[in-house]
Symmetry: C2
Subunit: 364 residues, 2 copies
C-alpha cells in the first residue's frame, strides 16, 4: 500500500452519551487524537502483558501531552482472567495511587481488556470516564463499540457487568499488523456476522475481498472496520440497553451457541470469534430448520467462514445436553426458555424461541 | 397511638427513571404494596441474618401473589461484610437458580443490604429491576433513596458501585418498632443532617419533637421520615449523579470526617450514623473556623445530636494525620485536594476546600 486510508469517524448517537469512533492509521501514538477528552490530573492505561511491550509506551507518550500523570496497570492476557480477581487489580491500582473521580481510564488491548476496563470505569467511585483503544480486529469491529462491559462468572460469560459508554474509541488500523493470524480470523467472524445479520451487500463484498483482508491490505481492512462499526452504531443507537424491541439482541447472532461452546470447553480454550463462527453455522442451520432460509444460504455462510480460517463444526467433547444447559443461562433466556437469533432472510435477523429437536439437529 | 398515620408517597422525579417512596404502617406484608411492579417469573429477597427471622416470611408471602417463585439470600449482618465476597453470594444464588434478566430483587434490611442488593441489581446481566424495603431508620431516610449503590474496598468505603435507581421504595414505619435504640439514634443522625444542611425549620421541629422520636411515636416518626425523604428527593432530582453543580454532594455533610472515623477504626466498629454525627460536629466547627457560622450554631447542633444519643467527639485513637490520609481518598477529593461540605447559614450547605490547620482544629 502506498497511500494511507483516510481518517474516518463513526458517531454512536446516544443523546448526552454520544461519542465518536475514529478509524485510521497511526492514531494511537498521535497526541492530537486525545485532544477533545475530559481534562484530569491522571490518566490510567489498562493493558495486558502481550500488548504492553508493543504499544503502551506509544500511548503513554501521546497522553503525557494532556495528563500530568500517566499510570499503567498490566493484566494477564486472556479470557480466563476476565474475573473479579483481575478486575480488582485495576481498583487496587486506582486507590493505591489516590486516583480521583476525574481520572480517565484507557483500555489498550482486545475485548477482554476493553470489557474489564469499561466495567472498572463504570463502577470506580460510581463512574469515571474511559476511552477504548482496541488493538485487535475483534475488539475494533465489536466489543469496543456500544458500551457493553462485563466480567465472567464461573457459571456464565459476561454475567456481571454494566452498560457504560466510553468517551471515545480510537481504532488504529496499524495495530492489526502485529495481530497473530488466528486472532485476525477470530475478528473476521464478527465482521462476517455483520454482513449476515444486517447487510447482505456487505457479505458479498466480504466474499469478493476475503483474500485481501487475510493478506492485511490496510485499505480493505479500514473499509471493513468502518462498515462494521457503522452497522453496529446503527443498531446500538436504536436500542442501547438490549431492550424488548430485540434490535440489539440480533447482534448476538451465533453467540448463544458460541457461548455454550466457550463455557463447555472452559473460557479461553477457543477464541471468542472461533466459537461465534461455529455458533453462526449452527444458528444458520437452525434458521434453515425453521424454514426461514435455504441450504444454499447455510452453505455460502459456511464457505466464507472456512475461507476466513474459522472452525465450522463444534468440539466433539460437548454433548447436546451440555449445549442446552449452557444456553439456558444465556442472558436472552426468559423463564428458562432459550431465545435464538435466527436469519429470516440473508442480511436480516430476528429473535425467537425454537423447538429442542431443531436446536439439537442444528448442532449436528 | 390510636390512629395509624396516613399513607404518604414521595416521588423521585428522574424522567424515565422516576419512582415512588411509599411511607406508612404495615406495608411490607401487604401484597397490594407490590401490585405495580414489573412482572417476572422470579423474585429474590436479599436480607441479612438479623432481619430474616423478623420479616422475610412476611415479605415472601406478600410477593407470592405476584411472582411464581420467591427465593431468598441471607447475608451476614454488618458493614464489615459489605464486600465483593458477600456480593458474590447474591450472584451465585441468581445463577445457581437460573434467574433471568427480568428477575426482581428485593433489598430487605438496612443500608448495607440495600447498597449491596442495589449494586447486584445494577450489574447482574447488566441490570435487573430492584425494590428497596428499608427496615432501619437510617436506610429509610437516607440510603434507600437516590440510587447510590456500592460495596467497600479495603482502602475506602463505597469505592466500587453504581448509580442505579430502584423501581419502588417501600418504607414501612412499623419495622422501626424492632430497631435497637443504638440504631434508632444512628438513623436520627441523618434526619438531623437534613435539617442542618437543607431546612432549618425542620431542625427546629426536631428540637421540639426529639423526645417523641426517641419514644417511637409513630406519627412523629412518619412525619420525620416523610420530610427527610422529601428533602433528599428534591436534591437527587436536581443532581442525580453528584455532578459538578455540587448540589447532591451537600448531602454528604458530616460524611468526609465521618468516613475517616469509620476507616480509621475499621468499618463496623462505629455505626455509620454515629460516625456521621461526630463528623457533623467537626464540619460545623470547620464552618465556624471559616467564619461562616457562629459558636452558638455549633453548640445547638451538638446539643441536639447529644439528645439523640449520638457521639460528638471523635475516637482518641485516630491521629490528625490519619484523618487527613483517609479524607484524601474521599470521592469528593480532586487532584489530592479534600473538599468539605460546610454550612454557610443554618439550613444551607456548600462544598469547598479548607486550609489544613482549620481542618485539624475542627477535629479538636
Amino acid at each position: 500500500m502506498l497511500s494511507k486510508p483516510a481518517l474516518s469517524r463513526v458517531c454512536i448517537a446516544l443523546a448526552e452519551r454520544s461519542y465518536d469512533i475514529v478509524i485510521g492509521m497511526d492514531l494511537l501514538s498521535d497526541s492530537a487524537t486525545y485532544a477533545g477528552l475530559p481534562k484530569a490530573e491522571t490518566a490510567m492505561i489498562v493493558t495486558n502483558a502481550t500488548i504492553a511491550p508493543l504499544y503502551a509506551k506509544h500511548l503513554e507518550n501521546a497522553l503525557k501531552t494532556h495528563y500530568p500523570r500517566v499510570l499503567q496497570v498490566i493484566l494477564p492476557d486472556g479470557e480466563a482472567y476476565k474475573d473479579w480477581k483481575n478486575l480488582n487489580l485495576i481498583f487496587d491500582a486506582l486507590l493505591e495511587n489516590g486516583c480521583d473521580r476525574k481520572t480517565v481510564l484507557f483500555a489498550l488491548g482486545g475485548g477482554v481488556v476493553g470489557d474489564m476496563t469499561g466495567f472498572a470505569a463504570a463502577t470506580y467511585m460510581r463512574g469515571v470516564p474511559f476511552v477504548q483503544v482496541p488493538t485487535t480486529l475483534l475488539s475494533q469491529v465489536d466489543s469496543s463499540v456500544g458500551g457493553k462491559t462485563a466480567i465472567n462468572h464461573p457459571i456464565g460469560k459476561n454475567m456481571i457487568g454494566a452498560f457504560y459508554q466510553p468517551s471515545l474509541v480510537v481504532t488504529d488500523i496499524s495495530t492489526l499488523s502485529t495481530l497473530p493470524a488466528r486472532e485476525l480470523s477470530a475478528g473476521l467472524a464478527e465482521v462476517i456476522k455483520h454482513g449476515i445479520m444486517a447487510d447482505w451487500a456487505y457479505f458479498e463484498w466480504l466474499e469478493a475481498n476475503m483474500d485481501k483482508l487475510l493478506q492485511g491490505d490496510v485499505a480493505a481492512m479500514a473499509y471493513a472496520v468502518r462498515v462494521s462499526c457503522e452497522i453496529k452504531a446503527r443498531v446500538v443507537s436504536l436500542d442501547e440497553r438490549e431492550g424488548s424491541s430485540g434490535i440489539r439482541a440480533t447482534l448476538n447472532f451465533g453467540h448463544t451457541f458460541g457461548h455454550a461452546i466457550e463455557a463447555g470447553l472452559g473460557f479461553g480454550v477457543w477464541l471468542h470469534g472461533e466459537a461465534v463462527a461455529c455458533g453462526m453455522v449452527m444458528a444458520a442451520r437452525l434458521s434453515q430448520g425453521l424454514g426461514l432460509v435455504d441450504a444454499a444460504f447455510v452453505e455460502r455462510v459456511t464457505k466464507l467462514l472456512i475461507r476466513a480460517g474459522l472452525p465450522v463444526a463444534g468440539p466433539e467433547s460437548i454433548t447436546p445436553d451440555e449445549y442446552i444447559h449452557h444456553m439456558s443461562v444465556d442472558k436472552k433466556a426468559e423463564g428458562g426458555q432459550i431465545k435464538f437469533v435466527v436469519i429470516d432472510k440473508p442480511g436480516h435477523a430476528k429473535v425467537q424461541a425454537a423447538p429442542n429437536d431443531l436446536v439439537i439437529a442444528a448442532l449436528k
